[in-house]
């Protein structure tokens, strides 16, 4: 295959993977926010989150394969999983490897979800919070198309989308915690003494 073709495919599939990864993040964050909607029930959003993540992985695979098969610059097979071992653009390719490693951990843990402890699964899933920004950094750090206005606009939109989803999740979780704290102590009641509930109860739970 022609090196130029490979190069274009690498760049294109990388950007598509980033967009899909962003969509996965947004869907994952709004799953937790539990926003109820008639047309988009929660279980459907969760299903979509899973499927979009798998498509992202497919594009990521294309991105990685083409970048290695492209002989114009040397990126060894080992660089798929071992970060900072590529002779070409060691740091930024390495960042890409880190993102891939984190994503692989999340993916494998989800495949094994029924066999591992829920706490373990959640802990590993939180690696996604590391994966996405690293992937974003890799995209812009590699530099190839980073100067293009439309790529910058795309990157900015991704950041805004994830930022907005994060804020929404924060707001939803804190109102839930507030609701709980009028009623009872936080779940680690066994470890700390907790004062009895406040007596102002007007309006809540009505």
């Amino acid at each position: 295959m022609n090196s130029t073709v490979l190069w274009y495919v690498t760049r294109a599939s990388g950007i598509v993977a980033l967009v899909l990864l962003t969509a996965t993040m947004v869907l994952g964050l709004t799953t937790s926010a539990r926003a109820r909607s008639r047309n988009w029930p929660g279980f459907a959003r969760q299903e979509l989150h899973r499927r979009v993540s798998m498509i992202a992985i497919v594009f990521l695979a294309i991105h990685v394969l083409t970048s290695i098969l492209d002989t114009y610059v040397h990126i060894g097979w080992a660089s798929i999983v071992v970060p900072f071992t590529s002779s070409y653009s060691r740091f930024w390719v390495g960042m890409g490897t880190v993102a891939l490693d984190l994503l692989a951990a999340v993916f494998v843990s989800s495949l094994l979800r029924s066999r591992i402890k829920p706490g373990t699964w959640r802990g590993i899933h939180w690696l996604a919070y590391g994966c996405w920004p690293v992937a974003l950094a890799h995209t812009f750090g590699m530099g190839t198309d980073a100067g293009e206005p439309w790529v910058i606009a795309l990157g900015a939109s991704c950041v805004l989308a994830v930022g907005a989803a994060l804020l929404q999740r924060r707001r939803a979780t804190s109102s839930r915690v507030a609701g709980r704290s009028t009623g009872g102590p936080e779940p680690d009641a066994g470890r700390h003494p907790v004062p009895t509930a406040s007596l102002e109860g007007a309006g809540r739970g009505q």
Binding site: G42, E47, P118
Partner: protein, 71 residues
């Protein structure tokens, strides 16, 4: 005949509500978003949806208990 019943682990449940979306005939949500099940055996046509609800619950709070009763 095998009867299938839904049991919800109230400690694990975090009111995601997917179960009520998937199985509205058997699960309703209370005013705080937590599922209410009546403990009766599920009709056979709802068992598949119940399995899906158990699989999709993000907190793994749904258990399906199967009991075989002699005729």
């Amino acid at each position: 005949m095998t009867t299938v019943r839904i049991t919800i682990d109230p400690v694990a449940c975090d009111a995601y509500g997917y179960c009520a979306e998937l199985l509205p005939e058997a699960i309703v949500l209370d005013e705080w978003g937590y599922p209410i099940v009546d403990g009766r055996p599920l009709p056979a046509d709802l068992v598949a949806a119940a399995r899906r609800a158990a699989r999709d619950c993000p907190r793994r709070a749904i258990r399906l208990t199967l009991k075989s009763s002699a005729g």
